[in-house]
Symmetry: C2
């Protein structure tokens, strides 16, 4: 039911409406463009406006490239550090998609996140999907790991609700949070990091269940061990295993390209509450055990 | 195997050794006291030195009272706000146990946690069990919820490793972390809180698996809905459900006394890696699903 948050202008065929904005926020020009860009067989992502936090990261960059194959309308990349050469490369990949970069550190106060989002919404009028992908892996840095991986993701999510929440007259939207397989079962040598990812998985499963109230659907993509610079070398908690990176990489892993392909497939499936497990080229929707139920 | 971290002085019967300190850290007097206080049939907790973070809280206070029935040697209560009348009440409950209160806010920098712990270790010589029980429930306060419920718990745990880690010549120890059933499956109306509890559950399961390296065992106690002041009234995330507290309390709950009884039973079971589910007077060790394995 929540894949149909889209509110089509009554006289327009459903398939031609590519934005989740309310009818009053759509204009004819926007819809005509949408129609001209997307064929009936095109991706769910065609002509969408997507914000990608950490879209220049290791997994982020290849996922941005994969997204650009889907003829988005706008890809707004928010990342801590500008990498103009990478942004240029992305801009050249598909002339149908406007790629924009804006600096964003997810650890800023939520008021700043809202300000930045307001700029984006003012410019694009509507945003369809927010991908929260900021993450660090260094169990020597407890505060930073938690601030980036969990607090930052929660704050960015909370900030965008100002624009999306149907209770405020917003159009709804889709949140794609990057968790990790360590949110299911930890890498014990990085308990702080793994804990933050469990928090992301749990938090996002709540968002999904709140969709009838907020109009905002949500799911997680949870990559297995992916050969990124993040994983090449990192600190374990209290150095319990100085060779944790090397040990991990002795087992089957996936490339960032494989991960990105599954990532975008998961986005296209657009399943509210999806717990996507992305490992070694495989994409699977995990079933979570029910240990109790608050019954509310 | 990790229930036997205790290193008995060779000539002393195992049951009489009540401290996890290394033999060199034990003195005869301490062991004689231990013997005289504890009968063969006495609780695992008899003559133990226990630090209880948030031991004056709603669940904390009744658990402190329950602990005091077990003839601890020392109960050091660390809490944010001193409540002298409650501390007095606890002191009077059992003359065999020395009850001490020290102010502690888990959100202080880790260096301060270490300083405070040093004072305690200097005074008691050894500490057997750390109970991390600080928690807040208010999804309007994102930063505070995460700082208290997850970061504070991680920092306090990390701080005590300076004194316990066997790699540093420490004697090992036991960590009892208070999670919540919402760490298994969330109360969707408080996704921020529930996420922090999932983090605690995941983090602690790592600690348990690291015990062969650190000598420190760990488990979580995860209360179901317990009739505390915390639960009587609290804010849901973005007010998605203003009556969340009332709705929760319409379903079967447990009293703080019931919770405390199960809590101390769980401590007495002393199971490394235990995922204790404490609800309506029932104590159950949850089996966690394995979705993947890092193989290291």
């Amino acid at each position: 039911m929540f894949t149909k948050l889209c509110r089509p202008v009554p006289s327009i065929n459903f398939r031609t409406v590519t934005c989740f904005c309310k009818p009053r926020q759509l204009n004819k020009y926007y819809n005509i463009i949408a129609r001209s860009n997307c064929s009936a067989s095109s991706s769910f992502l065609c002509d969408k406006n997507v914000i990608f936090v950490a879209g220049l990261g290791d997994i982020g960059l290849d996922t941005s490239k994969e997204l650009l194959k889907r003829d988005l309308k706008n890809l707004v990349i928010l990342d801590r550090i500008d990498k103009p050469e990478l942004v240029c490369e992305l801009k050249e990949l598909n002339p149908k998609t406007k790629v924009t970069f804006m600096p964003y550190d997810v650890t800023v106060p939520i008021a700043e996140s809202k300000k930045l989002l307001k700029k984006i919404f003012d410019k694009l009028k509507c945003v369809d999907i927010l991908i929260n992908g900021a993450g660090i892996l260094d169990d020597h840095k407890i505060e930073a790991t938690i601030a980036v991986n969990y607090t930052g993701l929660v704050n960015t999510t909370t900030a965008i609700m100002d624009f999306w929440d149907i209770r405020k007259g917003g159009p709804g939207g889709i949140i794609c949070n990057i968790g990790s397989v360590t949110g299911f079962n930890p890498i014990t040598q990085v308990p702080v990091y793994s804990g933050t990812k469990a928090a992301v998985v749990n938090f996002t499963s709540s968002l999904a269940k709140l969709a009838p109230i907020t109009g905002v659907t949500a799911y997680t993509v949870n990559p297995g061990i992916t050969r990124t610079s993040l994983v090449a070398k990192f600190n374990s908690w209290l150095d319990v295993e100085p060779d944790v990176a090397e040990l991990l990489l002795e087992h089957p892993t996936q490339s960032t390209k494989e991960c990105a392909a599954s990532f975008v497939k998961a986005i296209e499936k657009n399943k509210n509450g999806g717990l996507w497990f992305l490992d070694q080229g495989i994409l699977e929707d995990i079933k979570w055990d029910k240990h109790w139920d608050p019954c509310i």
